[in-house]
């Protein structure tokens, strides 16, 4: 019975062309809020080319493996993870605060598994919810990696560790 259910599940996956197999899905980055804070930025209006995709306050975090590479300026090893935590802008008189989470974008390094997308797995968790994956297909993941090719020389990552 269990085997039959698994077979059914896998065949239904196979029916969606280009969908990412479960084994290749990027894991939710549990505990990332306590990882190294790399840098932050606010994208607040359409004069910025990334406003429609990434408008808000964002913080970038790196896990221990990724932090080691950022500090040493060395290539990222398998298991390196970077998280882009996008929050709404809460306006206060004369300032800005952090609002609720828009999404959590994740880059997960595995040179072999993600060879087709420059060695990184790409995922976006809507509202930061582990069950709301926005990147369903390889084509969607390629849209991420295509833009990141711009920083191919830096390991396909935009963020530098701030002082």
């Amino acid at each position: 019975m269990a085997v039959a259910a698994l077979l059914l599940a896998s065949s239904s996956f196979a029916e969606k062309p280009g969908s990412i197999p479960a084994a290749d899905q990027v894991p939710y980055p549990r505990g990332y809020r306590e990882w190294q804070h790399v840098k932050s930025m606010v994208i607040y209006n359409e004069r910025h080319p990334l406003f429609s995709a990434f408008g808000g306050i964002h913080h970038v975090y790196a896990n221990a493996i990724a932090t080691k590479s950022l500090k040493a300026g060395k290539p990222f090893e398998d298991g390196a993870v970077l998280v882009f935590d996008l929050l709404e802008i809460g306006k206060t008189p004369g300032g800005m605060n952090e609002g609720k989470r828009t999404f959590l974008a994740v880059m997960h390094r595995n040179a072999k598994k993600y060879a087709e997308t420059d060695g990184w797995g790409w995922e976006v968790f809507e509202n930061g919810d582990a069950n709301q994956r926005a990147i369903q297909t390889l084509a969607a993941a390629k849209a991420c990696s295509t833009c990141h090719k711009e920083v191919g020389a830096k390991g396909f990552t935009f963020a530098d560790l701030r002082d």
Binding site: R33, H37, S40, M41, V42, R47, G94, G95, M96, G128
Partner: protein, 170 residues
């Protein structure tokens, strides 16, 4: 007999002086807070931007600010329990660099520190206060207990939140 009791020996005088000087040094020490070495690896608690004079903190804390907590401070935030001695918070205040619809982090303006020690900082609510100009260890701006009390005065409005403004953001 009377000779020994009325004329203190040079050794005794030296010890007395050393004790007095030591006492003075301790009094000064009370306002001092160690530089928060390694704070960039602590947990980011929350962030805020203070951009113009409409914000009540503009004069003191304008900029792009991140608050970090060391492991002891983080444990107390999470459990809502008391802050142990050694718990520390850092306000990392950076310049605002505003261009083309985005605000980036600029150079460091100041690094404000609160560190918990109920004995050492008894005069200021059990917290030591310091701020390092441009994040430079050799540029502390809080020189006296009176300076530290000015910090505390403002933090008193959070007396019911253990004198702390930040809560761990989501």
């Amino acid at each position: 007999m009377s000779r020994t009791s009325t004329n203190p020996s040079p050794v005794a005088l030296f010890l007395l002086c050393a004790l007095l000087l030591g006492g003075l040094a301790n009094a000064q020490d009370a306002a001092q807070v160690p530089f928060p070495k390694g704070f960039r690896e602590w947990t980011r608690v929350k962030s805020a931007l203070v951009l113009d004079e409409k914000h009540p903190l503009f004069k003191v804390f304008s900029g792009f600010t991140h608050i970090y907590a060391n492991p002891k401070a983080l444990a107390a935030l999470k459990s809502n329990g008391p802050f142990e001695n050694g718990a520390a918070f850092v306000l990392d205040v950076l310049e605002v660099s505003d261009s083309s619809g985005a605000i980036s982090e600029g150079p460091r303006k100041q690094l404000a520190v609160m560190v918990r020690d109920t004995e050492r900082y008894k005069a200021t609510g059990g917290w030591g206060f310091q701020t390092f100009q441009n994040g430079k260890k050799e540029k502390p701006r809080i020189k006296t207990v009176a300076d530290a009390k000015a910090c505390l005065d403002c933090h008193q409005q959070r007396a019911n939140q253990r004198l702390i403004f930040s809560e761990l953001s989501q």
